[in-house]
């Protein structure tokens, strides 16, 4: 029996405003517990919320960047429930009239383009953080995160596989980073995904009962959770059991999910309009103003790279996956006038070193201009490609520009015929056996001899000239 998996996602992204949504506490991550709080964000009696204008702007930006319609009139609502991380025992959110609705993003999966619908995007406040004492009898609450602004992005149940989900999340993340509304750091909790999943027999029209999975802290966890839950649901159905609509908590360590029924059951949120906050009206003028602040979006940038720089789709994808990376690449490409080389360097050496050193693009200790210079030095033949890698390492270590490094370390290419002839002669003298081998037909010996010349010149000899001269000498 073939099954189809239907997946929808709810993504919560923390907005990168400086202050919280309803008070002026900082949103900075990582402060000492309860040092970024005030009476408002811990819900002390008599305090009142005031909406941060930037939160609305960022949410509208996100909506426009995902092709949503923007509600001209929208309001805040209270979502009432009890949990220690929720100081007022209600979350100020949006219920029936979200700020953005009816959008979509296009994703690429295995060469096929697919459109994933976005049902809505709304603004709300984040809750605090619970710290559980594994040994003891208590749990502790840190309210630093309480009141940090969130957008909740709800997708249509348009995804059919873990790959599609991954592509969707990556695209969404890239978009939000590009438009600068969130730093989307999953490990810091500023980008969280909840998965809604159901299965049905292929060909059936009716949707199956869906479950919701929370606590997915990485893309990998999302993929595993989807595969695990789909398998579980299919198993249940095959065994003749019924899927219960419930929320499940994913345990990354055990690679399985647990029912959270006891917590989520009987939750009647009793939504009603927030009386302490007034409606938000985004008129055409404001909408256009915000629209004009949108940069080129990742997908468009990718298309441009394919067209203008003649880059293959795969390369363009990687390069545009992050705005900072794309900016770095593009400047390098333009300044060196060699997009292909720029692409190779960025996708190759740059990403490798960033990965090794666990660094972000913005932490690269030299500018794109320097990388362009390096490419130019190689293109002009001042240094060889191999030497180029050495220079690159040194750029990373010292931050100096390539020309300076080449000078200081004397790395220029050796292309003086006489000089090379001398070295070749030396090598031939020292490697009589290899010369013999070559003359006896062993082609590999030639490569070895070339290698020896390169070793003598510490890689600086122009390989073409070496080849020519060596061939001549061996005749």
């Amino acid at each position: 029996m073939e099954y189809e998996v239907i997946i929808g996602l709810e993504v919560h992204a923390e907005l990168s405003t400086k202050s919280k949504i309803f008070c002026s506490c900082t949103t900075e991550f990582g402060g000492d517990v309860n040092t970024h709080i005030c009476p408002i964000c811990i819900g002390m009696p008599g305090t009142l919320p005031v909406l941060n204008k930037k939160v609305v702007e960022y949410a509208v930006r996100a909506g426009l960047a995902t092709n949503c319609s923007i509600s001209e009139y929208s309001k805040m609502d209270r979502k009432n429930y009890f949990y220690p991380d929720l100081p007022k025992a209600y979350q100020i959110s949006q219920y029936d009239i979200p700020l953005c609705y009816d959008g979509y993003i296009d994703i690429d999966v295995n060469g096929t383009e697919k459109r994933i619908g976005i049902t809505r995007i709304h603004i709300e406040e984040d809750a605090g953080k619970l710290i559980h004492d594994d040994k003891g009898e208590a749990s502790f609450i840190d309210y630093n995160r309480s009141g940090v602004p969130l957008i909740e992005i709800v997708s249509e149940p348009d995804m059919r596989s873990a790959e599609e989900v991954k592509a969707y999340l990556e695209s969404l993340k890239a978009i939000l980073e590009y438009i600068n509304v969130s730093d989307c750091k999953m490990q810091e909790g500023s980008f969280r995904a909840d998965v809604n999943l159901s299965v049905r027999k292929k060909g059936e029209n009716k949707l199956g009962t869906r479950t919701e999975m929370k606590n997915l802290s990485s893309f990998r966890a999302v993929v595993r959770a989807i595969e695990g839950e789909a398998a579980r649901q299919i198993e249940e159905i095959e065994a003749g059991r019924v899927i219960v609509q419930e929320t499940r908590r994913w345990d990354e360590g055990k690679n399985m999910s647990y029912s959270m029924r006891s917590k989520e059951e009987a939750r009647d949120y009793r939504f009603f309009p927030e009386p302490d906050l007034l409606p938000v009206e985004v008129d055409e003028k404001w909408r256009e103003e915000i629209k004009n602040t949108l940069p080129e979006l990742p997908r468009d940038r990718k298309k441009r790279y394919i067209n203008d720089f003649s880059l293959p789709e795969y390369d363009a994808s990687i390069l545009t996956s992050s705005k900072m990376l794309a900016d770095f690449f593009e400047e390098t490409a333009i300044k060196s006038n060699n997009a292909k080389a720029a692409s190779n360097w960025v996708m190759g050496e740059v990403l490798r070193v960033l990965n090794e050193k666990q660094m972000e693009v913005q932490e690269i200790p030299f500018t794109a201009e320097y990388l362009a210079e390096l490419i130019t030095l190689i293109d002009k033949g001042v240094i060889s490609g191999t030497i180029g890698k050495t220079v690159f390492e040194e750029m990373f270590n010292s931050g100096k520009n390539p020309e300076t490094i080449v000078e200081e370390k004397g790395l220029k290419v050796i292309n003086d015929q006489e000089e090379i002839l001398n070295i070749v002669s030396e090598v031939l003298k020292k490697n009589v056996k290899s010369v013999e081998d070559y003359k006896n037909g062993k082609r590999k010996a030639f490569g070895f001899l070339v290698g020896q010349v390169m070793k003598e010149t510490k890689g600086k000899a122009d390989p073409k000239i070496v080849n020519e001269i060596l061939k001549k000498e061996l005749e």
Binding site: S24, C25, T26, P84, Y143, P273, P279
Partner: protein
């Protein structure tokens, strides 16, 4: 309308309140009376009437995205005795 003890119990659960059996019975009786009063609102035709969510015609009331110093942690924790290591403390939560 007819209210049952079950309804009252369910509502009390939602509100995190515990009522004695007496209180529940009293409430069933009182609430039924109150709700029957509320039902009189059904005499008013409101089919095409818009709900008033805010009585004042204000909109777009915002603050600028500016950070100000947060409150001193000790001050924020002062009104509870159950705290440890700078955090508010509750019984262990099993997630």
């Amino acid at each position: 309308m007819k209210l049952t003890k079950d309804t009252i119990e369910h509502i009390a659960e939602l509100a995190r309140l515990d009522l004695t059996d007496n209180e529940k019975e009293e409430l069933v009786f009182e609430m039924e009376k109150v709700i029957s009063h509320f039902d009189k609102l059904g005499e008013l035709d409101t089919l095409y009437v818009k709900a008033t969510e805010h009585i004042i015609p204000l909109k777009n009331v915002f603050r600028e995205d500016e950070v100000e110093n947060s409150f001193n942690r000790e001050k924020m924790l002062k009104n509870t005795s159950k705290k440890e290591d700078g955090c508010f403390k509750v019984p262990k939560i099993l997630e």
